[in-house]
Subunit: 200 residues, 2 copies
DNA sequence: CGGTTGATGGTATGGTTGTACCACAAAAAC
DNA sequence: GTTTTTGTGGTACAACCATACCATCAACCG
């Protein structure tokens, strides 16, 4: 046998090719061939590492969901604090607003997957439910902490506000994707809304 | 020639078949054949009335966008008032939350179209931008009216709040579609948020 | 050193899709 | 009453797609 190759690396390489291919012309238009070409390998190799297209799509979805988690955690880390609820919450929510081309592509594919998973039984949507639920708890906890610290209005229902926040961020992100709003507008609106929850 | 048929009626019939077909297994899986079968006509007829698949999809999208407008107007009319801003706003926003199977199918296809229009140049997204912009103005106006009438907090920025409201409603609707939340939960959260804008 | 096994390329195949083409019947036009 | 025109069916076709199959080549195993 030649070279004795690192399977995980090869798989990652192919998945990245799929994501690039999907970013430019939509998830619905990716084919074994387009992925192979984008990855610079033969179709046979894509088959070799993923067997079927369904499994390839599934693997890409899993990778995407994982990357979403990383992105959010990275943003939170970038705030450099674990004690400023407003900063942390803002960081989490702003991740949903696509700014540069890279994040736009990311969120586009993510959304395409989410919508696809509604009708495609093979893509049962676990990854798309686990993450938001986790975020909901996360936001609720930090909101409650802010209330205890006196920086957020104590009359608020922390959990319901957390759900509202997630919905606002998802809705704004979507409207940016659809070209209805600019990323700057969306950011401004989100910050406006946060300032109402965190007066002063 | 036989029968001399009403073209618009035939077209509507076929488009409805497309929407039914898309509702059950996703917009991506509709084909000329599946539409023809669902409509109970031959493939040739679908071609005859729409020439190409692209035009069929486009016509269905247009019809869908128009129907969205009707739905919202109908809801507003059903409130039976033109002077109660809270009632009117709540009616508009609740339309985005799919309750029964019919509205679920409607919003699913609508969302699939919206996402598809991002990558498919043939489906340039005008219909998906006009309606929300109109709604934004509508909500802004009614919010401002409520502020003048003293039922809404006068410190609010009516336009930004309108954008937030649209985003919340879109986000909640999407989360219901994805199966993350029940329609009841979404409704509760939306009403909670509205009660914060309209105290008392 | 011989053979087994991992990695890869190439190609064939069966199915599906959108669309073009051909035929025909029946109503309208003249 | 002949000739258009309009609606409709059936079918053929070229493209494309996912996948199965066949072949090859090189490394490691014994």
């Amino acid at each position: 046998m030649p070279k004795l190759v690192d399977h995980e690396e090869r798989r990652a390489h192919i998945i990245d090719a799929l994501l690039r291919s999907a970013a430019s012309s939509g998830l619905h238009s990716v084919t074994m061939r387009s992925v192979a070409i984008e990855a610079g390998v033969s179709v046979r190799l894509v088959q070799y590492y993923f067997d079927t297209k369904e499994q390839l799509l599934l693997a890409a979805m899993t990778r995407l969901a994982a990357r979403m988690g990383e992105r959010v955690r990275q943003r939170v880390r970038a705030t450099g604090t674990t004690t400023d609820p407003l900063g942390i919450i803002e960081a989490v929510l702003l991740e949903a607003v696509p700014t540069d081309e890279e994040s736009r592509a990311f969120h586009l594919i993510y959304t395409e997957y989410a919508v696809l998973s509604v009708t495609d039984p093979a893509l049962a949507g676990q990854p798309f439910l686990a993450a938001p639920n986790e975020m909901e708890n996360f936001l609720t906890a930090h909101l409650a902490a802010a209330q205890r610290a006196g920086t957020a209005d104590p009359h608020l229902d922390a959990r319901q506000e957390a759900v509202v926040l997630l919905a606002v961020s998802a809705g704004l992100g979507l409207s940016v994707l659809l070209g209805q709003r600019s990323a700057e507008e969306a950011t401004t609106v989100l910050q406006y809304h946060l300032r109402r929850l965190f007066p002063g």
